[in-house]
Amino acid sequence: MSGALKGRRILITGAAKGIGLATTERFIGEGARVAALDRDEAALTALAGRFNRSQLHPAKTDVVDPASVAAAVAESAAALGGLDGIVNAAGIDLVADIEAMALADWSRVLAVNLTGPMLVMQAAYPHLKTAGGGTIVNVSSGAGLSPLKHRTAYCASKAGLQMASKALAMEAAEFGIRVNTVCPGAVETELFRSGIDTSPDPQAAYEAVRSRYALQRIAAPDEIAAAILWLTSAESSYVTGTAIAVDGGRTFH
């Protein structure tokens, strides 16, 4: 495909790294104009340097902070002249035994992975309505479909994001707004690497993850971006409230 998103104005969170970055690159390649939100200023500056301002508008944002989200969404809509879609790609992981998990850690995961996307959707919703319709794609996880050990907070946040997306899909349909989720498995990102590298035996940890997938490999961020693109494009015009697993065969959802 090329030009699948020509002229579309899309806001992407977590846009400077990992899946969000791959999505930003792919979307711009398909003709979209992107508002790139990320809390990592250095990564965002590096990203902004690669594109002209008509293609990409960077906005430093912390999705757990309602004021930061409101400001970033308003600024993005002003810069792009409106919004036709959002992609919530910002997220964090947490591996912790139930007994060792601090309440603050649990709360942080829920704040970033569930409340954050909600704040972004809430702030962007009037702009999508004004545009006469639009698309919302939330990056959930295979862990929101089928559980993983030692990830109570992460799994709950990602399952919650799926159901929030479905409930909003019902509410938003009358405005021509489609809401879907993509559920990746393990993806070769900085987030994934940090989890592997901090484990006691990185090689064994990597093998354990790899062997969970029928395709026997870890995904590239581009492979997730491809599904996000499809759900954002007119190709998926009758698809709403669905959760697509892009997990190389683990959940068999």
């Binding site: 090329s2 349909a173 009358e174 029928a214 494009s233 009758y238 669905t242 065969g249």
Partner: protein, 252 residues
Amino acid sequence: MTASAGRFSGKVVAITGAAHGIGAATARRFLAEGARVAVIDRESEGFAESFRDVPAEQLLTVAGDCTDAAVLADFHARAVSSFGPVDILFNNVGQSGRERAAQFHESDEEVWRFVLEVSLFTAMRMSRLVVPAMRERGGRIVNMSSDAAFVGDAGLTDYAAAKMGIIGFTRALARELAAHRVTVNAVAPGAIRTRAHDRLTPAVIEKIKATTPAGFIAEPEDVAGCVAFLASEDARYVTGQTLLIDGGRWMI
């Protein structure tokens, strides 16, 4: 719809039940994107209308009943001899047998057998024909399920069973073939404007619209876009999945 010329250039596609509706729309989509396509349908008089202006070297049409194993084997053999091994199989053919639909306590085993034959066994038989070569060369299989499998429409017990059977078949085959670069997925449409849909009463159509958040009946092309995605390089990491195309009628 944005068709991208050439995305499927050099690919060989086989589609069952493709004279009308979703099968024909999907075939046209693959043709527009550069594939060579082999189609089979019992109602072959629909081919001329559905595939006007398609060059003969790009399209093979076969008239035949998909529930006949020998006919399917012949279709596969002709597709391979005309175009080469099948890269993409869309197991589309199916029927709810709605004209003969009945409450379960009054239903006939003969109708169950027909519905299971046409909606499940044809997909298994056709897959059985293409899988040996796909294990060597990679490939894509997309099976036709239905949101009726999830919703469980009253009066269509056999159809719901067949379409849920498709989902189990899809998952198990996906797992078997994953290491061979073959993905196997299913699509599960809701209300789509096809000939079967046009035979529904206005009251039934209104009821479907009322239970569909999107509020409208989709076109066959809406399904074709989903099948094309699952068959594309963009979906190479998607396998064993069932994609609902139903305007939000059922959300799993």
